[in-house]
């Protein structure tokens, strides 16, 4: 099992050289695929280690306003699942040293056919999947297909979880555990405080897997704070805001600033 998990090995390897890895998020088809290509190039060059690509959905219930709006606009432009798979194929080929994962909502997988989309993902060079509205209890087929196609199914830790729940999720999650830093949904303000430190300590003990921390990371200091406490920082809404406001140059600058510090 452990050997078949590309993502774990990749993260372990990268972490030897870096105090913390960066997972950069984008919404596919927003603002458009051409920009997405350049976006990924910038991310990779500026030092992102993992690229999380969201396939847009009309009801992104776990996303905050910024990402929800990006989903909406991407769909309004006509983005299809196949476009996303084709895009993945291209960027994974172009950046073979980086890890790419998909994120989307369960209906996208369900309507395409779970077996179909997981196998297609593998072919497109994708290493992991995050499906925020698919708890392990509902995920039999998904888990089986992921195993079959060497895709790491990544589950999420929430601040409200009981120890029992943390253990259950650790059992199912591969590659990493994605910990939500604050209550609520993506894109708001997080308190990087003692309570968070304690939580992350517990997570580490239970998960025994690389720990990614996301939601609300918006500046270099946040990343600093997490060094030693997590393996990966996830930057989502902030990157879209930066891109929306300052374009690719601003994105590059922002990521370099974060990366440059470490």
């Amino acid at each position: 099992m452990i050997n078949s998990d590309f993502l774990s090995s990749y993260i372990k390897k990268e972490r030897q050289a870096k105090p913390i890895l960066i997972m950069a998020h984008l919404v596919l088809g927003y603002p458009d695929f051409k920009t997405n290509h350049e976006q990924v190039d910038v991310m990779v060059k500026a030092g992102a280690d993992i690229i999380e690509m969201q396939i847009p959905f009309s009801e992104p219930i776990a996303d905050g306003p910024v990402i929800a709006k990006a989903n909406q606009l991407s769909l309004a432009r006509g983005t299809k699942i196949q476009d996303c798979l084709d895009f993945a194929q291209k960027v994974t080929t172009r950046h073979p040293k980086k890890a790419f994962i998909f994120m989307s909502y369960v209906n996208i997988l369900f309507m395409r056919g779970i077996a179909n989309i997981i196998s297609q993902s593998e072919k497109a060079g994708i290493k992991g999947w995050i499906v925020p509205d698919l708890p392990p209890e509902e995920a039999d087929v998904y888990l089986a297909e992921c195993a079959k196609h060497k895709i790491s199914p990544i589950f999420i830790y929430a601040p409200t979880h009981s120890l029992a729940r943390l253990k259950t999720l650790a059992n199912y999650s591969k590659g990493m555990i994605y910990a939500v830093a604050r209550k609520g949904i993506t894109g708001g303000k997080t308190n990087f405080n003692q309570e968070l430190i304690e939580r992350l300590t517990i997570y580490r003990k239970i998960a025994k897997k690389p720990l990614a921390v996301g939601f609300g990371i918006s500046q270099a200091e946040d990343v600093d704070f997490l060094i030693g406490k997590a393996d990966i920082v996830v930057i989502g809404s902030k990157l879209i805001e930066v891109l929306d406001e300052g374009g690719l140059t601003a994105l590059d600058l922002f990521l370099r600033k974060i990366r440059g510090n470490h």
């Binding site: 959905f57 009309s58 009801e59 219930i61 776990a62 306003p65 929800a68 709006k69 909406q72 769909l75 299809k80 699942i81 909502y105 369960v106 209906n107 996208i108 369900f110 309507m111 395409r112 925020p132 509205d133 698919l134 708890p135 209890e137 509902e138 589950f155 999420i156 830790y157 929430a158 601040p159 409200t160 979880h161 009981s162 729940r165 999720l169 939500v180 209550k183 609520g184 949904i185």
Partner: protein, 414 residues
Amino acid sequence: MKLKYDSYYGSFGGRFNPEILHGVFTELTETFEKVKADNNFWLEYEKILKNYSGRPTPITEATNLTAHFKGAKILIKREDLNHTGSHKIDNVVGQGLLAQRMGKKRLIAETGAGQHGVAVATIAAKLGFSCTIYMGEIDAKRQRPNVFWMEKLGAEVIEIKSGSRTLKEAINEAFRDWVNNPKDTHYLLGTACGPHPFPSLVAWLQSIIGKEAKRQMIKDYQKLPTKIIASVGGGSNSLGIFQEFIEHKEVGLVAVEAAGLGVDTDNHSMRLTANKGTVGIAQGYKTLFFQDEEGQMRKTHSIAAGLDYIGVSPILAYLVEKKRIDCAAISDKEALIAAKLTMRKEGIIPALESAHALAQAFKEAPKMDKKDIILVNLSGRGDKDIFNFGDLFFDKKWQTFIKQKAANQIESKI
């Protein structure tokens, strides 16, 4: 065929929540299991509905409509006579009591047209909860009277200015609130949809409608109806009246969806009707959705705000699949005509939602025997729809009135 109030009904239902909601749903499910087994809960529930909302609601014999259509006898279950004007009060009273048992101090809810918001604000006032209602900015603009009453009832109404600025944004925001306040807050969902246990919980609470109706039919007519017809938004009023009759195979059950501008257009809200809805998973549960082939939800339309919804109760989806429930669809225009006729013939102003059920009854009655009985669930009263009726009937005097009101807004004397 007896419903188990389980998380799945056939292949429909389940719970597809972001992990962050795991805790609150676990607690809610456990409490639901507890109160379901506790007869005292149901007795307290019935008592409040009796003393506060005037239940049981009567069954009115629509003698004039019956004579007009010259077929089956048409009976009307009068949910419009409930406090706040619709069946929605059952669910909010029930969940309000549940929230009390969980020791919660605060109720939150989403609302689209505002009816559910008013009902939640009402019960929050009565049971002593603080209350926040989330409403898309566009909906709040359209339904200002309901916003006005919610505020006067003491609720805080938060208008969502992001995204589509309608119901789905309001739901997201409500969930966000809930996960931030899991200890003191209960999220009071308005219909038999959403992640388990909401479909089971709401259907169970609303089953009081059918329980009453069965008792009333046997007492006053010495038989069960031939058919029961109800409109379907999320499915709470239809399941409310259907459940008690599911075991009685001889009783036909008809769920009526909104055909909007027409069954052959794209502007409707059909999900149960064959080839209109397809199985999907969204908003936390698996059911028939009005979606495209890639699983993106489509834009629904109905003249009746309460029927204008992308999903449908998984319990209904299951019972339709099992062919225990038939489905039908009624257009905006048919609903309006049925509403007009019901006003003229019976002196009852139906909600536009309920007018869909009436319209279906009017289609079926003439084809049935005079010995047959159709029971229509009149889910709510239509006063709330005056702005729609006024606009849609293109009433000149009404429009002049609104213009003058606008011109003469007076300042408070007090």
